[in-house]
Amino acid sequence: MGAERLADVIERFTDDGGGPGAAASSETTKQWQEEFDRNFRRFRNLHALVTRPVEPKVGQTPREEVYKKNKSRLYRYASTRRYRTPLLFVPNLGISRPYIFDLLPGGSFIEHMTREGFDFYLLDWGVFGPEDNDLTVEHCVTKILPRMAQQVLASSGARELSVLGYCMGAPISASFVATHAEIPVKNYIDMAGPIDFSKVGLFGLWLKKEYFDVDRVVDTLGSVPADLVRAGFKLIKPTIDLSTGLNLWWNLWNDTYVESFQALNRWANEYVAFPGEFFRQWVRDFYQENKLYRGELVMGGRPVRLGTITCPVFVVGAKEDYIAPPACVRALLDVVGSRETEYAELPGGHISLIAGRGAARHCWPKVAGWLAPRS
């Protein structure tokens, strides 16, 4: 079969090209030329990736450090401020670094929000070391967040602020809002943040009390090292590296894709450890006993009742989120006391909900659009 085809090829190749298929053949030749050119660029970019790896410049939106507390930093981003109410963004603690929200110019949630005119503050929890192993979720809710919120109000000169919690930052910030009525929170947004941990998917199953001995982990290791965090997240989607590699090869000819890949790849491989006591409380109170949703959580002597949140609430879930499935995120609306609530389920996964081209199309305008008239 192969020999016959080669013979046909040579036959046609040596023809003058005046036959009926000449136009189609010329078009196919052009397509092949483009394909070969792509392959050439693939090899060129592969060579550059291997021999001259470039450190991607991430987090380029101008910002200033407003306040610091131990490892945590509060950053205020330069903006064309059009709205009076500042926005405090509370991301996850541990797992990964927050520069994913300001990855590259043109692909940054923070850049988008500042351009829209929001006075944007980011709480960077920082990278914790063994000296922080005693840090708890309770400390974050009752000590760090109130101080950061006060600093936002002081530096912005506003009377109220909006709070946006992403991922783990959502249950933590919701606990803070629910227990600190003295901090005037005007709007609250939960983006891909689990609230009802009975619907939290694979992690919920793996971390069940019967199977996962959190005390043994923390007592033996002290903290939860970055490598263990990496293993957990890789396991939840074991084919991710394969599909990432395949997509990289497929798009390797595209310089813009390669630049984005380098930035995203740097972030995706920069895991952050959990302080030991934080992890213990996080797994036990939230994953294993679902205390937040059931109203049994106590922080700093105050009961955490999500029903005390009465400001307008916007909840955003991602359709293909396997870390915080939409059902466990949407559950916030069942328990808050707000009269003005809205839920949006947008395309994307846990990360692509907020970072990437899809996010720029679906999520960012939606969040900015909801927040703008209320700010």
Partner: protein, 171 residues
């Protein structure tokens, strides 16, 4: 016509060799740019272009199109997705969760005495060398964190007093 075919192929090959030779000559006579890392693609491109064009022409005469590669990529994507679903289903069972928990427990049980012994030995070695151990450094860092907390509490009190005294917002 049939007699001309081998000649046409030979002529094309000859032309390609000549073009390649000229491209080589041009490249070799060029001064290498100073302090620029070598980019083999730039060097090879003029030479390879000849061959790539020939191959494109050759492939253009076949029923094959680059669409085949797109279909192949789609097939691989679907294959990976299918495996992802299968693995997801397997990992979403109570048995898997139990097995994983047991494995982690075993690793930790085995690791614990080794970790403890290693920490003790390291501490003794550092003590013998007159160097601070990890625990000592951690203790100092904790003290700094506690001092920071105390300063914050003092700041809060001063702010409160200032507010009460003058009704003025502290900076």
């Amino acid at each position: 016509m049939a007699e001309a075919r081998p000649d046409a192929l030979f002529e094309m090959w000859r032309k390609q060799v000549e073009d390649s030779t000229q491209a080589w000559t041009r490249l070799l006579s060029r001064e290498p740019p100073a302090a620029t890392p070598p980019d083999p693609t730039v060097f090879w491109r003029p030479v390879l272009d000849q061959g790539l064009q020939t191959w494109a022409k050759l492939f253009g005469q076949t029923p094959a199109t680059p669409e085949l590669l797109t279909q192949w990529k789609q097939f691989l994507d679907q294959w990976i997705e299918a495996w992802s679903k299968i693995l997801g289903q397997a990992m979403g069972t109570e048995q898997f969760a139990k097995l994983m928990g047991q494995s982690l427990d075993q690793v930790l049980v085995l690791q614990a005495p080794f970790r403890k012994a290693a920490e003790q030995h390291t501490e003794q070695a550092l003590q013998a060398l007159g160097l601070p151990s990890r625990n000592q450094v951690t203790a100092v860092a904790k003290q700094i964190v506690e001092l920071e907390e105390r300063i914050e509490r003092l700041e809060d009190r001063i702010d409160a007093v200032l507010r009460r005294l003058g009704g003025k917002e502290p900076t």
